[in-house]
Symmetry: C2
């Protein structure tokens, strides 16, 4: 599916001015004046985000690795796939490997890029790159000082059930479940890359 710019001219907004309205400890808010397709002006406020990676780690027995983490803005514990923000200059794959290790202790010998999602397109530019990871080898996790989370394994059928019954409501995780379901059914095959250097010597 493709659209030309001509197709979209009646939808596009252009920037008239852009102001950094709030710079917090984590959040950075821009307050922009834009020109609408009809020539009028409007205000657009949005968060500037570095981007992130989410990983769907599949164990040799077919289970997937998940996390339980307290999310303060909602005051509850969520079931999520491992994820984290890109460091400055970091590639998505490097970020995926780092976050998987830090949060779960696992390294993977095979990685596949699935696609990307945009998280809250009305008010942030956050993009999350989706990776699958296989050939998982357990080690020691290295959580950030301010990070508290449980890691656990579940069967994909359980994950599907939790997505339906409201136990999983995190939209990045539900988007991953769409990928997981279609990958496992054979409908959406992946291109796996084997990282030879991460295969430990097997006596």
């Amino acid at each position: 599916m493709s659209h030309t710019l001509q197709d979209e001219a009646h939808l596009v907004e252009s920037t008239i001015s852009s102001t950094l309205a709030y710079q917090g400890d984590f959040l950075r808010v821009k307050h922009d004046v834009v020109q609408l397709p009809n020539g009028k002006t409007a205000i657009r406020e949005h968060i500037v985000h570095p981007g992130a990676v989410v990983i769907i780690p599949i164990l040799d027995n077919g289970d997937v690795l998940l996390e339980r983490q307290y999310r303060y803005p909602l005051g509850q514990v969520f079931i999520e796939f491992p994820a984290g923000k890109l460091d400055a200059g970091e590639s998505p794959l490097a970020c995926g490997k780092r976050e998987l290790l830090e949060e779960t202790g696992y390294t993977a010998t095979a990685w596949a890029y699935a696609g990307k999602m945009h998280l809250a397109i009305g008010y942030t530019n956050e993009v999350i790159h989706i990776y699958f990871a296989k050939g998982l080898i357990n080690g020691e996790r290295k959580l950030d000082e301010e990070e508290f989370l449980d890691v656990f394994a579940a069967q994909p059928s359980q994950v599907l059930g939790w997505s339906r019954d409201g136990s999983i409501t995190d939209s990045k995780t539900l988007t991953c479940v769409l990928w997981l379901q279609n990958y496992l059914s054979g409908t959406w095959p992946l291109n796996w890359t084997i990282s030879a250097e991460e295969v430990p010597s097997r006596g």
Copy 2:
């Protein structure tokens, strides 16, 4: 799946202080000090959001209704299911009916609640309620003054293809595609409610 509070005590953060750090035209940012599970303190910044509704409208011929809308934070046009924010005091179902009519011109004679998703759990409390709508009747749309969007119909198989190939990357829409796929396969049946008052008299 259920967890007791006891299970989660090692994950939970509690509020020490909460400050309204930024009140913009649309975005409202809180800057809180929290106590971590280990007793230390940390900063949590998050957006306070009223909640929203997204609708999966299914036409009588099996196509679904979608929108193309320019999203300024990312500077591109997105394919999305119709959605919008809750007005103060508005129920999710009333919001769904209002947004479907305003954005697409359609009314529906049957509605089914699917579930909810949380959009960006690291920094907003936004929840999106997911509804399916059937028995669609076309009328005149009533866009907000600052709203510019195209409405179009597509087959569910096309929507699945676009979800895989990167034409659809909006996470609320991808979460809806998970629901759509499992509803259509018969795996996740829905409870439909027929709104008698919205069925026009049929000569």
